[in-house]
Symmetry: D2
Subunit: 354 residues, 4 copies
């Protein structure tokens, strides 16, 4: 089958598994795993930051970041369509007494600076207001179509946040995809943010782990929070070894995923009853809607799955197909054929038979 | 001076103070204050509900309601412009690990049912989602202009909420104003909701206190939460005695406040450089903007204050004037004169000197 | 009947009710109630502190204090027998993510300095430990028999706390009773603490309210927390007026309550099957156990209640009788007679019939 | 060097690393990693429970258990010396609004049933009390000397808990050590508990991971909480593969660690100035104090470390040495020699040289 539900389905490479088996190990809860230390230094260097901290998931890396920046009762200004707000169970309210303020994401993944400005402008002396301590942005912005949000916007948002006493966190779960699409370095993209989350187990193919990268103070606080949340892992070098290869060997191949996504989008754009939404992909995700009286979103997904093509609904009525290392050009062409067959022959237009 | 900043500035009536001084008292933390019990029964009866619980403030009544309905990690769907979300410090996230999901308020104070439906539709088995347990609405809706939200809409929203396993809380801080404006009974307005908050110290003139009114189970849970938050008060009959008069003697006079608000709006609508926003009032609040090159919002408020008229900014660039028992028709006319003077003579239009 | 369950059952004096009816009022949520301001300045002055903040209850005053001193994840070191830990629903864990560390109270109400030292000594750099940010003590210590804890011990504990970076909060719900018993001023007792809670509605007879008093920074933070918890009250001058008389007119009479408690203890100490525990009272509470085969603790309390004497179990198997302004010397003598009758004739000792 | 600081320092076996490299993998956040599923079924079967859930750490497994059993504001009754209370940063108060009630641990690791009974006996209708929802016990009990707590006691405690409406969680981080020492099966030890935490990365040598095992409802709730905390891991089969070998191949060898601990204790018991506390080990930990004027606890640990023997202070003034797969009998004898040398020649007794 062709697995297009998510790039989280990537599997570790043979080189990763070999590295895992031979990595020097220690107890990372005591700070003594040399492979973890090496990965953390590597990530910090790549992103041009002081420090990094390995986490079992991107959810925890984001959660620890929000808690590191926001005191109890502080407010985190987030995108209405951000993964951090939509898919992470509201963890910062639960674990940290943090109030989310979701603002609309624009089609390009950004939040209007005027919206940010309004949300950040509160009378801090007035106890009726939760005080914003953080702006969290996402690049690429998954639910806006995997659209990369670039360094110029991030720098403006960061400046605005700082003028209001707030920090900027960047959910860069797919930061290397964004950097690839934008033709900038990861460090350029990370530069405006105080902390950045990067995921090792999506396009980069490591089996487990995300990193929180940023300035030393925030990472120190996040490391303490990691322990409290239960994210301290013992001989974590076994997964860090894979992560080192993820960062050193796997970022170059993301362009291929983007090409495959573009190829898929081209193939789908001609199909009757299928509509790209929001349009051609900039990174590794194709979103579309099916408008065909023979199908609901769910029945279409199920029919594709029976024919060996796995995709998922994401948002209300939109289907997402994500390319990654486990998806070849041949898989893409096969997918187009399968979906075309589900939509062909086209539903005759009324009176069309005459 | 004329106090138009809020109807919270109302003072207790002489009858209230006399009632406070002669009320039978007991220790309400032991459930033994007869005057509190009488007030709670009265409120429940007026709103057609099982039970009521006296709280030191509307903020606590709302907070206890949200916590009574939402378990840790549950989601409260609220209006983007609701007092509960904007002005209550995010208490439910802090004290209860509840996630707010703010949705846009329409100009009529409602939330689109389609927006509610989308927010309530989550896969409850999927742990990445916070599960909605409550919809909270407000009537009248302060930040939308004090617009009353009526029972038909509330019933539709309640039905929708219940179909998705969520409860409906109504922030009726000014419920009697809404009922007056709509020509319905408070019970008709309260009927669709599981719990309702009513405030005694706004238009109804009691010095302290709000009530949470609703079905017995929710009120029982809220009463427990009240103790935890520190809202249990000892000889609370001294304030409950005022509250009894608030509910029995003061609701009839709210129509007068509405007439005064309408009179103020009429007086202001003709002024140059002053624009009602959103238009004529339905209850006791007039909102407007000043568009005059001689004034900022702040300088206009300050200038009015120097001339004995107190108003406040509410929202970004809007000024609110609230009528209440301490504001007479003469006060209204004086206010119009003062504001007219600040805006007169009108700024000459370019070329107007010819 | 004679009400000995608690001194919370005190009723406001006629002078208080008169003061409530004539006090200048304002909206205290806007900081404009002159009577509240006067009460807060008075309390701060009496205790020799910077500032004070009126709260609807002692529970909220304690809760706001703990949250003002402890960040999320901080630890509050408290007495195992403290009201704050036992009777306040764990509010600081719920509302503030604060971890309680209860330590044994000694019979004199103190916590051993060696126990405090051990609890405060943690490696702050090690994320596995919650870091102590507060020591909370109580004087008089209710569950240890209403025993006053004196300024010398409090100063030692405060010094210890500060050397470990923690603050000292004093739950002085009955601070004036402690000061009276010890022959020191309230300010002397309050001096070692960063914040002190005093209750107006116990022996001092005000109907509602407690004050948190302390250094300006902590009170400022507590004031913000009060709003979040829903403790901001509008025309709170009606209760503050009573509180002013509580602090100026009522503290002198507490000695009389102590004499009545001593008189009750003397009367009870001779009764068969009744044992004072822990012994004669230092303030206004008498604790005892009943050891008589005809009674359980509960049946004894119920029998006394039927005969017009109200007391309550406090702790496991101990009965508490509290004296206050509503209890006269005649009431005390009546109480002794009633309880004697319940225990007489004494149960014959085996073989005693010969 | 000889690593005796903790059995967490164990390294994965070659067989584990080979298994990790060849295990079938999937995305466990989607529930599709077959190796994780196999490990979870294996653990549930071994402990005679319905279900299991893989966690990145024992801290998270314990935290998720406490949150699965305790609602917001519920109380968790725990051992004063339990790892869950002492070393896990108070996570349940922070993330779940749960109140800890620590009770004294007896030298045999248990909590007195009378203490449990008193803690569990609260008036649930009275809102001033946090209501106990959980008793958490630990076997073996680390800070009491690694003493195994047996099934008979656990069954009594479980019965008591249930009679009061509370669940029983067993922190069995070293459950297989306890079972080995007691000569019972893991399932016999786990039987009384609703949920059990077992650690894969201590004596069992897996690099990462703990399991929460128990009845289906609680595990379902814990799985949801795991996502919120950020404990969902993608291709977690790489560590689950090691865990399968931990459970199938490594439990038999724990007896060897216990023998080595006994050998170490025998060797140390004869040394001057060294005192076993609490005495000979039942499992794999030796605790002792040094009473020698030439050493503080810290200087002794440092001196041993310089000579290649690593141990750590645990508790105030006690040193812990833990045996595990990385420690041979030769290592033990070397350790005894090194420590003997640090304490020899004995400090001359006064006048002893004459
Ligand atoms: Ca993957
Ligand atoms: Ca008022
Ligand atoms: Ca007037
Ligand atoms: Ca009283
Ligand atoms: Ca290990
Ligand atoms: Ca070795």
């Amino acid at each position: 089958y062709v697995e297009l539900r998510s790039d989280t389905f990537t599997l570790p490479t043979p080189a990763m598994l070999e590295a895992a088996a031979s990595a020097p190990l220690g107890d990372d809860v005591y700070g003594e795993d040399p492979t973890v230390a090496r990965l953390e230094r590597l990530a910090a260097g790549l992103l041009g930051k002081d420090a990094a901290c390995l986490m079992p998931s991107g959810t925890m890396a984001n959660l620890a970041a929000v808690l590191a920046h926001c005191p109890r009762g502080g407010k985190a200004v987030v995108g209405r369509e951000s993964d951090l707000y939509v898919y992470e169970a509201g963890g910062a309210s639960v674990c940290g007494g943090v109030v989310y303020e979701p603002l609309p994401n624009q089609p390009d993944g950004t939040i209007l600076l005027s919206d940010l400005e309004e949300a950040l402008t509160v009378d801090r002396a007035d106890p009726q207001f939760a005080v914003p301590a953080l702006v969290a942005l996402e690049s690429p912005q998954n639910r806006c179509g995997g659209v990369p949000v670039g360094p110029a916007y991030l720098a403006e948002a960061a400046g605005l946040a700082r003028r209001h006493g707030a920090a900027l966190h960047l959910d860069g779960a797919r930061l290397f995809n964004a950097a690839t699409a934008l033709g900038v370095t990861p460090a350029e993209l990370a530069a405006p943010a105080d902390t950045v989350q990067i995921c090792l187990s999506k396009g980069l193919c490591a089996p487990i782990g995300s990193l929180l990268v940023g300035e030393a103070g925030a990472i120190g606080r996040a490391r303490r929070i990691r322990k409290l949340l239960g994210g301290g892992m013992r001989q974590a070098g076994v997964i860090a070894a894979c992560g080192i290869l993820a960062l050193t060997e796997m970022t170059g191949r993301l362009a291929e995923d983007h090409e495959n996504a573009a190829r898929l989008a081209r193939g789908l754009s001609g199909l009757p009853g299928l509509e790209l939404d929001p349009g051609p992909p900039a990174t590794n995700m194709v979103f579309f809607r099916v408008r065909d009286p023979r199908h609901t979103t769910r029945s279409f997904i199920d029919a594709a799955r029976e024919r060996g093509v796995r995709m998922e609904e994401l948002g209300h009525g939109r289907i997402r197909a994500v390319t990654h290392a486990g998806v070849t050009t041949t898989d893409i062409d096969h997918t187009v054929n399968v979906l075309r067959a589900l939509l062909t022959p086209p539903v005759p237009t009324p009176g069309g038979g005459r």
